[in-house]
Each structure stands twice: as structure tokens, then as C-alpha cells.
Amino acid sequence: MTDIQAPAVRTNQTDPAVAAPAQIKMTARDVNVFYGANHAIKDVSIDVDMENVTAFIGPSGCGKSTFLRTLNRMNDTISIAKVTGDITLDGEDIYSSDMDVVQLRARVGMVFQKPNPFPKSIYENVAYGPRIHGLAPARRDMDQIVESALRRAGLWEEVKDRLSDSGTALSGGQQQRLCIARAIAVDPEVILMDEPCSALDPIATAKIEELIHALRGKYAIVIVTHNMQQAARVSQKTAFFHLGHLVEYGETSEIFTNPRQERTKDYITGRYG
């Protein structure tokens, strides 16, 4: 077998606060997910905090997306999916019967692999969330929410003159930023991103990565990625999944330079996947 050297990771950290005790936002304890008989997630426990961007990596089919979707109960939409274990958001059990899933999803936003703007105007795309949640009673408030979300998503300058164009008419990278703006608009606490760049070209990817940097600290961010360089670039914490197990979870710099588990090492050095 080829001995490929593990890539030297540049963690790209501008602030040195990583070591400080981070504020825990979400916790998962002994989470299992089943698709019918298929045991897709096995006993995963993990904490997500506000300070760091958390990356999920692992070979295809290992359950990254599945686990991510348990965090805002998007798995509810798949009838055969069954989740056990505890997941909390600010200490509240999100799978308790008290928890209103509609509100939960407003608090835990999500961005998908393929940009999926609604076939409506750019404005309406962003306004959709605030509108259904009744966040902006007046038209003026809504304008403001839309503008600020687009600004934070770094899209405002590019679209401010054509807010009434269809969201699907934007380029792929713009669409993805629009989706991020849409998620931000309802003022969530956590943002989940499932391979947000895999459908984008390198330049658009760089823009999204920059955006993630800018958003860090304001929201707890979890990102799934296939691209290890990307994980290294954008995250401070990395979780490595394999066949439904959480194999290793820790500081990104640690995982990439000095993985504790053999399987992590093999994956990072390209022995499989």
C-alpha cells in the first residue's frame, strides 16, 4: 500500500480562543438512528458549542447527514427513520413531546448540499421564514430583516437591485448564499450545513468558507464535508464518522495531524474513501 503522508493542516484560526471552555449549545447522548432495519447511527454522543465550527467528516454513507438531521429533527420527514437517545438544545430535550418541532427548526437552521432556493423571488425566499413565523408584522420590518440577512450572508451588494428576480436565476454560489441568508433570516441559534459547497466551483466555495468564518461565534455552526482540506480550513472541531460510529471527535488540528484512531488516520491519508 502507498504511504501517503498526512496533509499538513493549516487551521486558519484568527482568534486563539479555542482552548477556552466553550459554551455548550447542543448535546447528543447515545443517539441511535435506524432506517427500518438499517442501523445508520450507533451510540453517538457529541457536544456542539457556540465558539467553534464543528465539522463532520467520514466516508460516504457513514451517517454524517443522518446525524446532522437528527439535530433539527429533519429526520421526522422520513417515515421509516427512528431516533433514540437524548439530544438537547440549551438543555431542553428536543425529542420531548413538549418540544414544538416547528419552533425547533426555526432555532436550528439548515443549509443543504444542493442549493435549494424556492422558485420565488429573492426577497420572498428570505422573507419566507420570518413570514411564517410572524416575525415581521409590518412591511418595513420585513424589508429590514431581508436586507440584514442578505448582508450577513454577503449577498446584499450583488442582489440589492434585483430582489424581485427569481431565486433560481442566481448562480450556484449565490443560490447557496441565498439559502444561508434564508436560514439566518429567522435568527436561528444553530446552523447546520450538509456539504454546502459540494455543488460549487472553487471560487464560490471560497466565498462560502469566508462566510462561515464571519458567522462563527454568532451561531453554533455544524458543517458536513467530504473535502478534508475544507474541514481543516473552516472548522475548529472535527468529528470523524465511520459506519455509523463516531470514531473520533476533537480539535481539528489534533485530528488532522495526530489522529488517535487507526481508522481516522487511514481515512485522512486516503487509504480508503
Binding site: I132, H133, G134
Partner: protein
Amino acid sequence: MQKRIRRRYAAERRFKFMGLAAVVLSAGFLAFLLVTMLSNGLAGFSRTEVALPIDFPAAKLDVTAKQLQNRGADLALAGAGLDEVVDKAATAAFGEQGIDIISDRAWTEVREALKSDPTLLSRKARIDVPVSQDVQNALDGGGKPAMRAIVSGMQAKGLFSNKFDFGFLTSADSTDPTNVGIWGALKGSLFTMLVTLLIAFPIGVLSAVYLEEYAPRNRWTDLIEVSINNLAAVPSIIFGLLGLAVFLSFLNLPRSASLVGGLTLALMIMPVIVIASRNAIKAVPPSIRDAALGVGASKVQVIFHHVLPLALPGILTGTIIGMARALGETAPLLMIGMRAFIAQPPEGLTDPATVLPVQIFLWSDQVSRGFVERTSAAIIVLLVFLLAMNALAIYLRNRFETRW
């Protein structure tokens, strides 16, 4: 906020309820239709018979037992005046009104009895014969008051019996509702369907193969494509006009024949088969074609060894659905004369024939009220066939849906 959530959930429940209501009402309508037909029609499968005592030796029928076993038995009995004998027997048994009690064709029932048991000729016998429509009406609580009185008297004596009417399944149209059967129409339907299937299936499948596997993308194939899609939605009555203008007026094919009906319906359902077959062929994964081409199979081999066998369930589903549609079709057949009184089941494709749905249409138009039950009974028979075909199609579709 909480209030808003509650309102949103209320809207959610309302919306869901509307959906449920739509489904339930639609299904309810179907159930209502089926129950109505069943409750009207079940009586149509049975008939009331009356035991008619006949003294054959006294009647002195001019036939021998041997004659009864020959082929000319019908002729011999008709010549010997069996009908009069039966009428006399009825008068003797039930009084002056006797002839009105039994069905006009009761004597044919006696004829069949004699043919199956020639020894009857030499003794007295009680033979169950169908009652007339008047009696039937009276038994159902309607009809003429005079008849009702007679009937209730006979009923008290237990002369009537209700039997499953095999004749309904074995005979053809008749003027007398107690004697009608659906076999003639059913046979016409079978002949018509046979022609339809033989024409539409091969042509439909072959053209689907051409369009999916061979046709270049150009204006001509677009034209074919558009034609087919549109033909699938052309009102069926237009096909009747086509049949009238082309098959009857231009090609001079015989009017009322199942051949013409079959051709007309074949043109009608061909696009259905083409479209279903194309979808089935399209659903065969390209990787299978690649695989076969990759080991050096020619195009025809790829199609006949791999694509068609894999597409077959889909093709069959489409064909069955198309055939079911043809089987239930009425309007185009009215245009080509398949709406006559045809009391003999057709013997061949060019004989005058009618089909089940048209028979239903004709019976719905009959004077005699006995036809109401018969019409519903015929509807039940037709629905049984159609539901079976639909169920088969649905089964095929579900069974082979998730192959890859």
C-alpha cells in the same frame, strides 16, 4: 407567539382534514355507486320459476324419444307445437290467466328439459319454468292489481321458487327480460377485444421500441411523438367517427361487426400502449444496455434480450389498462352500428355483434321494467371484469415497481 403557533397548527389540522375529506368522499362515491349497482343487480342474477305440471302422454306430442336426441330436436318440437302444449298446460294448472303467468318462452325451458330427459315424454312431470314479467312485477309489489291477487294466492301455495338464473350467463339478448342473457354481448366483447389486442399490442409495442431505441431526434419523430400523445387524449367518440368514415364508408367493412369495433378500439388504445411501453422501456436502466453493448451485443439483441423482457411488466400493465378502457367503451361503438338487437351470439368476427357496455346502454332503454335489474346485473358482470383487469394491472405495477 404561542397563540400564533396554535393558530398555525389549527390551520394545519383544517388542511389535513380537507384532504382526508376529499379522499373519503371520493371513495364514498365509489362505494355508493357499487352498492347501488349491487343492490339493484343481484336480483338480476336470479329468476322466479313456477312449477308447471304437464301431462305429456295426454298432450300427444308428435315426436319420438329418438328424435329428441338428434340434432333436429328443436325443429321437431317446434313443429309438434310444443308451445301450445305448454300454454294449455298453464291454463289447465293456473286457470284462465295461466298463459300470462308463465313466460312467453317458458316452452323453450320445457324443450330443454325434454331434450335432456326424453323419458319425460311418457309421463306426467312438473317442470320449473320462468314466470312472466307481469308476475315478477306483482311479486315485487307492483304491477297490475288483478295479477297481484292471483300471485298472492299462488304464493301462499308455495308454487314459486327463486333460482340462480344460469340462462343469464349463457344466452343472448331477448325481448323478454326473464329470458335475456349476457353471453351474446360478452362473446361480442371477447371478439372485439381479441381484434383490439391483436392489432394494438404488437403495433403499440413495436412503435414504442422504435421511438425509444431507434428514432433520431428530429422534426419527424417529434411529429410522431406529438401525434401519439394527442391521440391518447382524443375523445373516444372521434374514433367512432373515424371508424364510420374509414372502415364502414370507405373500406366497406360490415356494419355492427366486432371486427370493425375491434379495429376502432385498437386505434383508440394504441397510444395508451405506446406511451406505457415507452415509459417501461425508458425505465430500463441505461447501464443494462451499456452492459450488453459492452460484451458485443447488437442493438436488436440488446432490445430483444434485455430491454423488452425487463420492460414487459410495465408494457403489460399499460396494455391491460388500455384493454380495460376498450372493454368499457361505448360511444365509438354506437357510431358503427354495434347497438342492434342481436339475439344470437356472434359466430365470427364479421357477424353482427354487440358488446357488454352497449348492451347495458340498450337495456337501460327497455320498456319492460324487468330490465332494470338485468341492466344492473350486466353492469355487475362488466365491473367484475374491469375491476379484475385493473387489479391485475395494479398488482403487476406494485410487484415490479422496485426492480432497480
